[in-house]
Amino acid sequence: MSGLLEVSGISVTFDGFRAINNLSFSIGAAELRAVIGPNGAGKTTFMDIVTGKTRPDEGRVLWGERSIDLLRLDEAQIARAGVGRKFQRPTVFEDQTVAENLMMALKAHRSPWRVLLWKPAAADHARVEALAVQVGLGDSLSRKSGELSHGQKQWLEIGMLLAQEPRLLLVDEPAAGMTLAEREQTTTLLVELAKTHAVVVVEHDMDFVRRLNCKVTVLHEGSVLAEGSLDHVTANQQVIEVYLGR
């Protein structure tokens, strides 16, 4: 099967510390995948590489049907190619309203001239409103996002991710700081999304991962330790040793 994203043999070193070591990874166009691993296993660095924030020392990252080399693109180009990312800590533009945040994320032309002359059409306003409702911020459209609670910011960021309409969603610890009900909602959302998108979820919370009910990749010391269903990997002796700590 030809995946949407093919990562093969990447390695990266920070000051002698090998954060990613000959890592290979692949995901299909409509697939949900959970990436787990202990602290320092390289989960965030892996996402940094895919989104262009960090350059690997070696290896290849190929994207899409035409196998575009993502390593040749910068962050913005990768994002425009269809890779969306939600950060571990919610990062929204706090001085701007929820509506402005969403409007900025809305899929549209990104070049300065087009943006300068761009006027939101009624459809765009409707889309922003719909997204806000979807993430539970329907009545907060005109509030500054800096005033939102931590959980609300998480939701706003998920809304922005959706607004971008990416083909691959990289979601870093989506459940952190959410109530139980919100987690439930997030799970549903991610599973729903995975029917048409590729979704990679990095998570610590095993219960959350179990609820996602998908293929799991276990990272350890920068490379893949095991891959398969959650039950399969948790049965793996090595995984138990390094991750579950038993």
């Binding site: 920070f14 000051d15 510390f17 924030k53 960090t54």
Partner: protein, 661 residues
């Protein structure tokens, strides 16, 4: 070298008519065995010539006198000093001295009293300048062999000022017996130089030139350069003389216009009509608002003016001017060459090749001199920037008032000198005091302003700029706008001179040493003390350092004080050679910024590399265009802007996650 010079002296002697027979066999012309009566006899023999010397005929007489034994130098000196007279009755020569109405007479050889004579009896001997020159040349022989070393030295100095062809032979003769090796070497060198300039045998001159090798002395180059002087000449046929280079009109370096100008200057072609002459000629013939029938208003293009002039020419009103065709024809009809003034091709070839190897070596030496200059500038930038780099590295704060701290240090030095008059002591007091003053100022600024703008580097930059303009004006109000003196102790005056090209002033050496001391001190503090450890911890990860029990506020304060204190010391150092004004620091601040930016933060070696690069670059560009230091700075900044492209975080950058990517 010596053997060569002897051979040279020999060949010289062979060629020199003056001493053709005796120089090789009789190296010492003042040999003691000459008979005591010799001089008197020689004087008697030539008394007529001595009394009425003429430039053309006197040479053999002087030569004979010179060889006549003891007393000759004194006699010659007296002759040249116009202290001789001849008795009209018998033509006998005496030393004379005016005494009363007549002369007191002395024996010309022994100086013994020879009675008196009335004025009418004696005619004073007054040799003309040409003869005196010949006598002086003959005298040089004696001075060069004088037992008094000071006299020999003086004679050599005189020769180096205005040596001539007549000195060649006596100088060559005076080498063999020279007891003092230093003087001997000087004599040999002088002989070589004189041979190059005045020798008559081309082979000897070539040998002399080659004997110097790639000597760096200015005197050697001064001897060579006139040999290579050229004159540009035009010829009807093939160029004659010692041709340096034949020139073709229209080629780079020699335009057809220059060729024609040369022909005009040599009188081979008539002058062309200049635009100003044309205009004047036309204006002189304005009649009824027109020239030669062409209305004035139309005469605003070169073509119309030429037409008017041609019309005037036709009417015979103005002289004919060379047309373009004629110019081209005359230019084509001649050949052009640069001709050496020196006729001998072998000599000029040797001189050119010697000058070339000398200039190669001179270039190398200039390079060395430049490197020293760059090193000293780099140490100044290092001193000025190190404080800035420390504060930037630890606190990510750019202190725009850093330059004013440098100024503050310089003014501290000035104030100290007002109270302590001994310059050495005052500098020794000023250095620690400047450190203390600026340390205090830095700590105060950190506590009052910078601490409250934590993690707001741009606001800090602007706030410190506010302090900077306030301080600068304050300095102006206190010390006035004129430059204040900060005088270096005497032992720092002067320069360490390696040869005619390489030299460096002691002040700059002192600053270099100061920079080294601070580098060492800094490395010690950073790597061997608790404070250094804590500073490094805060640099790399402030929040982690704080959680390990390090008080970042204290570290920040101390670092800032330290950085400012070093600025104060740099101020004293800079003040020693620059004018101390309120703008002293501001002149260095941008270069200091550049040093930090280029070097990268958080590492003293980066600052060092940055200072070396910025200083070296500035000096290097200045050397390419020495007349224009402003341009050098412009290009240096442009280079740095481009440099940032390739190393956005400086030469030595923090790597990995700590860099905050």
């Amino acid at each position: 070298m010596r053997r060569l010079l002897l051979a040279l002296a020999a060949s010289l002697a062979l060629s020199a008519p003056l001493c053709a027979q005796d120089a090789p066999s009789e190296p010492s012309p003042v040999a003691a065995e000459a008979p005591a009566s010799g001089l008197a006899a020689v004087i008697a023999e030539h008394k007529a010539d001595i009394a009425k010397p003429s430039r053309q005929s006197i040479a053999p007489v002087i030569a004979a006198l010179g060889k006549a034994g003891p007393g000759a130098p004194d006699f010659l000196e007296a002759w040249a000093d116009k202290a001789l007279g001849s008795r009209k009755s018998d033509g006998a020569i005496f030393r004379v001295k005016k005494a009363g109405a007549g002369y007191a007479l002395f024996d010309p050889v022994t100086g013994a009293d020879a009675g008196e004579a009335p004025r009418a009896e004696i005619s004073e001997i007054k040799p003309n300048a040409g003869v005196r020159g010949l006598i002086a040349a003959a005298l040089i022989r004696f001075q060069l062999s004088d037992p008094d070393i000071a006299k020999r030295q003086a004679a050599l100095t005189a020769l180096s000022r205005d040596g001539g062809p007549q000195h060649l032979e006596p100088l060559a003769a005076a080498i063999a017996d020279e007891p003092d090796p230093a003087i001997r070497a000087q004599k040999e060198r002088m002989l070589g130089l004189l041979t190059i300039r005045f020798g008559t045998d081309p082979a000897a001159r070539v040998a002399a030139i080659e004997g110097f090798g790639a000597d760096l002395g200015l005197d050697f180059r001064a001897a060579l350069n006139p040999l290579l002087a050229t004159k540009r000449q035009a010829f009807n046929a093939a160029p004659e003389g010692n041709v340096a280079a034949e020139l073709r009109p229209g080629k780079p370096g020699f335009s057809a216009e220059e060729a024609y100008d040369l022909l005009v200057a040599e009188g081979r072609a008539p002058a062309r009509l200049t635009r100003a002459d044309l205009r004047a000629a036309l204006e002189a013939h304005i009649e009824n608002g027109a020239v030669a029938g062409i209305p004035l208003a139309d005469l605003d293009t070169p073509a119309r003016r030429d037409a008017a002039y041609t019309a005037l020419e036709g009417a015979g009103a103005v002289p004919a001017a060379a047309t373009d065709d004629e110019v081209a024809q005359s230019v084509a009809a001649h050949r052009y060459a640069d001709i050496y003034a020196e006729p001998d091709a072998a000599v000029t070839a040797a001189a050119a090749s010697a000058l070339k190897s000398v200039s190669l070596k001179v270039d190398a030496m200039h390079g060395a001199d430049l490197a020293l200059d760059a090193l000293s500038l780099a140490s100044i930038y290092f001193l000025a920037a190190i404080g800035l780099a420390v504060t930037f590295g630890v606190m990510r704060v750019i202190n725009m008032a850093h330059g004013e701290f440098i100024t503050m240090g310089a003014y501290t030095g000035y104030v100290v000198q007002q109270h302590i008059s001994d310059y050495t002591i005052s500098i020794l007091v000023a250095l620690p005091l400047a450190f203390a003053v600026t340390f205090a100022a830095g700590v105060a600024m950190e506590r009052l302003v910078i601490r409250h703008l934590l993690r707001r580097p741009l606001e800090t930059l602007l706030a410190t700029f506010g302090i900077s303009i306030a301080l600068q004006q304050l300095f102006k109000n206190i010390f006035g706008t004129q430059a204040r003196p900060l005088t270096a102790p005497e032992w720092l005056d002067g320069a360490w001179v390696l040869n005619d090209i390489v030299g460096i002033s002691y002040i700059r050496i002192a600053i270099f040493v100061l920079a080294l001391v601070f580098l060492g001190l800094f490395l010690f503090v950073m790597n061997r003390t608790r404070l250094g450890l804590e500073v490094r911890a805060v640099t790399q990860n402030p929040s982690m350092a704080a959680s390990m029990g390090i008080n970042p506020d204290r570290i920040n304060m101390l670092t800032f004080g330290l950085g400012s204190g070093i600025a104060g010391i740099a101020g004293v150092a800079i003040g020693l050679f620059a004018k101390v004004t309120s703008e002293l620091g501001a002149d260095y601040i941008v270069q200091s910024f550049m040093t930090v930016v280029v070097g990268g933060v958080g590492n003293i070696w980066g600052t060092l590399a940055g200072a070396a690069l910025v200083g070296g670059l500035q000096k290097g560009i200045e050397a390419l265009n020495p007349s224009n230091t402003l341009a050098a700075q412009t290009y240096m900044i442009l280079f740095i802007i481009v440099f940032i492209q390739f190393r956005p975080r400086g030469i030595i950058a923090l790597k990995g996650r700590a860099a905050g990517d």
